[in-house]
């Protein structure tokens, strides 16, 4: 009798464990309806994106009652880890935020299907050419943008005028840029604010300033492959530029102590002269400080510029369709919906983010955005960090942290960057082969996406 009670007790406990599997598992699926998941990120960068995405999923579901779309936002640093975990479990999301990096090192080869299997060439042609070029490799266009963003430098016209600078002709050349910062410094303002604690700023400097020393992204490819070196002047210049500003005390005092977000956030206290930003952040600043405290310029051109100087990097947050998706056509259709004129206009209105498509309507834009949209068409540039591999990028973070605190010199930072590339080539020979192949294709495609 007692044994039965005991066994019953154990069975109860074990049963509880098994019961919690279906009861507590996230999201039970019903077989008849179509359900797609989309893992993305963007609200941190463009506040309002989450609301726009929610509205988009709701409207799409209204138009297609048998389809359910789940689109949770995942923090950017977890996006890839979460993808990997779910891929390992065999249940990846149908749509995932990727980047060209994954194409170049082939880490996701075989895990995604190209969008051009579901979108017509006509539909794809709307995507801005430099963006489209970055989303294509191996003869296919694999990804489409969730949204696009301009990457540039922000300056505070009010503060500029106070120290006797002219905000309407911003300091484009490096020497002018440094003198402007020095004037801001003597004027009692924080000349340039950024945060190095988490290391992202290192990549930003490479992407906004460093890229202007190159003639084409092939230069970067060749440094990754070992034909050029990250210690060469054109590849290491940006480290020296950071070091110069640190030595002259032109950053905020606690640049090493604060993270990226905090560093940029200081612009809002109204005492900072200049800052790096993406287009959506600009709109955030305008909302808080007003248009007369926010103006944009293409990022300063460093000494010894290459052919990519004076151009504005325009990046996209690309979405791709998982190969293991059970409903790729539906996923592609949802993406198509997100690229409809109405949705593109709504995205701009709600979040200020610009789609990398010629379907954007310029008339609803702010003056700063109009400038950026103009630069995207007239002087577009690529995005530096889509053209190397993640293992090397993490070294840029680490070196930026140490450089900012004064533990290493710019020369050492460049050397560490180079060492990371050497290490990657040695440890991942297969990925290197793939990288070489795609880099060669890039060089050939120069004319295809004019």
């Amino acid at each position: 009798m007692e044994r039965k009670k005991l066994l019953a007790g154990i069975a109860l406990v074990v049963g509880l464990c098994f019961l919690s599997v279906p009861v507590f598992s996230g999201g039970g699926q019903e077989a008849e309806k179509i359900e797609i998941r989309c893992y993305w990120w963007g609200d941190g960068e463009a506040p309002g994106m989450a609301a726009w995405m929610k509205e988009s999923t709701e409207l799409y579901q209204q138009q297609n009652p048998n389809i359910t779309v789940e689109a949770p936002e995942i923090p950017i640093e977890d996006l890839f880890t979460v993808w990997k975990a779910e891929l390992a479990a065999g249940t990846p999301p149908d749509i995932q935020l990727f980047g060209r990096q994954q194409g170049m090192d082939g880490s996701e080869a075989g895990n995604i299907v190209p969008v051009d299997e579901y979108w017509s060439e006509e539909e794809l042609a709307h995507i801005s050419p430099p963006a489209r070029r970055e989303l294509s490799w191996d003869g296919h266009t694999w990804l489409v943008p969730l949204y696009g963003g301009a990457w540039l430098t922000v300056l505070n016209p009010k503060i500029y005028r106070e120290v006797g600078l002219n905000p309407d002709s911003p300091p484009q050349q490096w020497n002018d840029f440094v003198s402007a910062l020095e004037k801001l410094d003597t004027g009692g303002f924080t000349p340039f604010s950024c945060g190095f604690k988490d290391g992202y700023m290192g990549v930003w400097w490479a992407c906004l300033v460093g890229i202007q020393n190159l003639d084409d992204m092939s230069d970067l490819h060749e440094a990754v492959m070992g034909i050029q070196h990250f210690t060469d002047p054109k590849h290491s210049n940006f480290w020296y530029r950071i070091e110069e500003l640190i030595n002259k005390g032109l950053f905020n005092e606690d640049a090493a102590s604060v993270g990226f977000a905090e560093g940029n956030d200081k612009y809002l206290n109204g005492k900072v002269g200049m800052v790096f930003a993406v287009q959506s952040m600009v709109n955030g600043y305008i909302k808080e400080l007003g248009e007369d405290s926010v103006s944009v310029m293409i990022s300063p051109t460093p000494p010894n510029p290459g052919k990519l100087a004076g151009r504005m990097p325009f990046y996209t947050m690309p979405l791709g369709i998982a190969k293991l998706s059970k409903h790729p056509e539906t996923a592609a259709d949802f993406l198509r919906y997100l690229h409809s004129e109405e949705r593109i206009a709504a995205m701009y209105k709600q979040s200020g983010a610009i789609q990398a498509s010629d379907k954007v309507s310029l008339d609803i834009m702010t003056s700063a955005d109009k400038l950026m949209a103009k630069w995207v068409v007239e002087v577009p540039n690529y995005t530096y960090n889509e053209h190397y591999v993640p293992q090397i990028e993490s070294e840029v973070w680490a070196s930026a942290q140490l450089l900012s605190i004064g533990d290493i010199s710019a020369a050492e930072a460049a050397q560490r960057y180079e060492d990371a590339a050497v290490k990657w080539r040695r440890e991942f020979p297969e990925a290197l082969e793939r990288f070489k192949r795609i880099a060669a294709e890039w060089k050939k495609d120069a004319d295809k996406y004019k």
Binding site: A256, Q391, Q401, I408
Partner: protein, 305 residues
């Protein structure tokens, strides 16, 4: 005849018969040991097995000691181990502070009960909360530098949490802050159960505070001190991931990487399972070595006292 019927009851009840092979213990032990087998034995075996495989290929290939070779060439791994060893220096500091505090509280000055309650509070605060607050506190314009300025020591202001030389010590300070309280209440418990007579006798004999402390209290507390030390050696080796993750995420550079963090990053960020499992095996071996050493030490202590 009552006695006989009781004897019969004894005889007929298998439990009372003291049957050595009764099924009963099995059912009681099963759930717990099933879980233990699954959570402890299976992973330890698998980790060793994984360290000999190449995870990038499907199916995973046996590559012998290749992963070990790669890890032993990895500077970051040795840096991580080194940082763990540096953190071991926290243990004597914590133990000493805990001893002093415990003895002082045991002297029952006014309010000792309040102090006794306060001292364990850091232990219940989530590491995530205190880690975030402290990394803030130790940033350039955070509270700590402000306090330094207030007391006139402003010239030693630093960016504590991101300074390559000070990041690890700063984290150490937070670890010590959190773990010491546990030692205090541990020592207190033993102190209060110690015979009052010994301490009183020494006091009457004119032994000073320090001599009482050194010659009487510490030997009496010997085994408890040894336990606390062992426990915290384990903590410094393998239970401080949360501190690093929340306060510095390994930075600046790789200056606050520890072995747990190395394993985590290699497994989940760099996707190098081989590296991660090798490091895990080595961490396991090091932990076992320390345990064996402390066990021998404890036996020796037991012999002497």
């Amino acid at each position: 005849m009552p006695k006989l019927s009781i004897m019969n009851r004894f005889a007929s009840n298998p439990l009372l018969r003291g049957s050595r092979f009764s099924l009963k213990p099995f059912t009681y032990l099963l759930p717990a040991f099933l879980v233990i087998g699954f959570i402890y034995f299976y992973p330890v075996v698998e980790v060793c097995r994984f360290s000999l495989l190449d995870f990038l290929k499907t199916p995973r290939q046996f590559v012998g000691l290749r992963n070990y070779r790669l890890v032993f060439q990895d500077e970051r791994f040795f840096q991580s181990l080194y940082h763990n060893i540096l953190l071991l220096m926290n243990v004597p500091v914590m133990t000493l502070i805990a001893l002093v505090l415990a003895v002082v509280i045991n002297d029952h000055v006014h309010g000792w009960k309040v102090y006794r309650s306060l001292v364990l509070t850091p232990y219940v605060i989530p590491i995530v909360a205190i880690g975030f607050a402290m990394s803030n506190f130790f940033s350039l314009n955070g509270g700590f530098n402000q306090i330094l300025t207030l007391v006139g020591l402003g010239f030693i202001k630093k960016q504590w949490i991101v300074d390559p030389s000070w990041a690890l010590p700063t984290i150490s300070a937070v670890i010590i802050w959190r773990q010491t309280g546990f030692g205090v209440i541990l020592f207190l418990a033993r102190l209060s159960s110690m015979s009052e007579g010994i301490i009183e006798a020494a006091r009457i004999d004119g032994a000073g505070w320090w001599r009482r402390f050194g010659k009487i209290i510490i030997p009496e507390l010997g085994t408890v001190i040894e336990f606390f030390v062992t426990l915290n050696i384990i903590v410094m080796l393998s239970q401080i991931f949360a501190f690093i993750f929340v306060m510095t995420n390994g930075g600046p550079g790789y200056k606050t990487w520890i072995t747990e963090f190395y394993i985590y990053k290699e497994a989940f960020h760099y996707n190098r399972m081989g590296h991660a499992t090798v490091a895990a095996v080595i961490l396991l071996i090091i932990t076992i070595i320390f345990i064996v050493i402390s066990y021998r030490f404890r036996e020796k202590l037991a012999e002497e006292y």
